[in-house]
Amino acid sequence: MSEMRTPVPDAPSLGELLAAGRAVPGHRPWPRAVVDVDDWGLAAECLTQGSVTLLGLWGEAEAVHMALLDEPAAAIGVLSLSCPEGRFPSVGELHAPAIRLERAIQDLFGLEATGLPDARPWLDHGRWGFRRPLGNAERAAGAAPPYPFLPVEGEHLHRIPVGPVHAGIIEPGHFRFTASGETIVRLEQRLGYVHKGIEGLMTGADLARGAELAGRVSGDSAVACALAFARAAEAALQVEAPRRAQWLRALMAELERLANHFGDIGAICNDAAFSLMHAHCGVLREQVLRAADRSFGHRLMRDVVVPGGVAHDLEPQGAAAIAAMIAEARRRFPPLVELYDNTASLQDRTVGTGILRPALARRFGAGGFIGRASGRGFDARRAMGYPPYDELEFLVPGLEAGDVDARVWIRIREVEQSLGLVEQILARLPGGPVREEIATAHAVHEGMALVEGFRGDVLAWLRFDASGRIERCHLRDPSWFQWPLLEAAIEGNIVADFPLCNKSFNCSYSGHDL
């Protein structure tokens, strides 16, 4: 993949891009503007130049939307293009991170991204019985067509197909390796196996049903996805969750981050055959989940974050259970970090393996520990400063090396920060109600949110129709921009290091396939 082009000084700012279009009233908290084809193309140019970052690209029956981030200004805006003729100029033609998103739009809505360099279906495996299920749906009978993988040419190359059913307890996806001896020349992913049609189910759903679905986009991010959905709904309906609820949400988000980081740090080491770390980190993870269970009645804290606040206040014994867990983690984690740092055989596997170059991480707007291990310091908690993070002290760790080791270290540092955040939240947890009742609105409202899950920034966008039901809801998991980077990072590594690299990314299949 080519490097980012040098920004031209006269590239329009995000504000100028938005001002060129017609502002859409009732879109909160950030502006949305309907632009024409030329300005849509100009925005794609800005993406290639790196003056703005792509946050999301999604469709509906007769329009496409792209969310853009001006990183230095921490400003967000949405550009929309109506496509009455069923087509729009491809952003992916200029800006590779948009390609899979546009393939998904083509599959689901039947809108054609003209100029899209890779027009193969993505989520549609030819098995739904329908084409364009969310657009002008059409019955499609017959056997699923074979998927044309990218061709490879050259002497002594061999291909290794893996999946969708993998050897471990992992989500399904297909990996097509092309190797020269032991060295991976190309990895091509094929995803979509766990596509459940969540965005289709969202349409026409009421608020409670929407929250239920959002919390099941990716089980490991049950809190983050539900939080993104709730904040988007609250923004649309101009409701603010009570202060105590906002702090409890952050408490749950940090517990979720801790559980996932503990589990994954151990699992990465396990993929380098160092099971000792796995065993000990697994204990720490279990302790977080048990504390979460005692505090909120569910180990993964599912269905607790709801629009308007939280459905479940902290149990009376919850604070003590969490405090005990934090104290235990503070005692048990540092020796494990030392073990990781001082085990040469383990470092031999992680250092210099699966390098993601900073330029590529920036270009794809890679979120979470993947971006932060490759020089992209974006963290929605800090950049957007949504409550209560604007009142809490924490650091956003950053590294440049971009290898498996750097991703492990970012997670180690984030564990330390999250432990501190949980302590601050418990010490200063405000009192009061935890849920604001939301009255059904009888007007069209649009809302949007960006929250930091353990894996990176989760985007939620939704529109309520005049009856108060969800007309369209799009949830963009950070994995959309991280999966393609795994293909790049694995190049030149040996096949045996793939599990290690894959686990160090730990992208969500379900969050991506939706």
Binding site: G129, A144, I169, P172, Y193, H195, K196, G197, R216, G219
Partner: protein, 168 residues
Amino acid sequence: MRKLLFEILVKPPLTEDAPAPDEAAVAELARAVDQAARRRLGRSLAIRQVDAGSCNGCELEIHALNNAYYDLERFGIRFVASPRHADVLLVTGPVTKNMREALERTWAATPGPKWVVAAGGCAKDGGCFAGSYAVTGGVAGVLPVDLHIPGCPPRPVEILRGLLALLA
């Protein structure tokens, strides 16, 4: 000597066919082996987990069975990498249409006798994804299900209880 060797080559072998087994002896032996195997191996279960479209929540809790608190292997239960080594398919998710064939092929690759355990609310009937154009709506519509473990996701201890029921 050459002539002798040549004759041996062209003459049919003298070795006779094996006698038909004594039915009664076979039955007796089978009983004995069965009892010995049950004594030695009977409390053992090899599980192949198949995610047929779950949100990955069930996978997290299935993973947890291997941690020190639940220590699944002490019960003789372990997860295997291939369906060919499995006694049980532990299936999660509403069975997306995109995963249906992979699930059926995994089942076909599992030698009998075999059990199918469906874990989680959406493996039962599609859960909150039921009715979507993209899901078939539960494992039972695709494979014969022997046991269902409810929950969203089921807690590790509930999954463990279900698996131990298969050994009882």
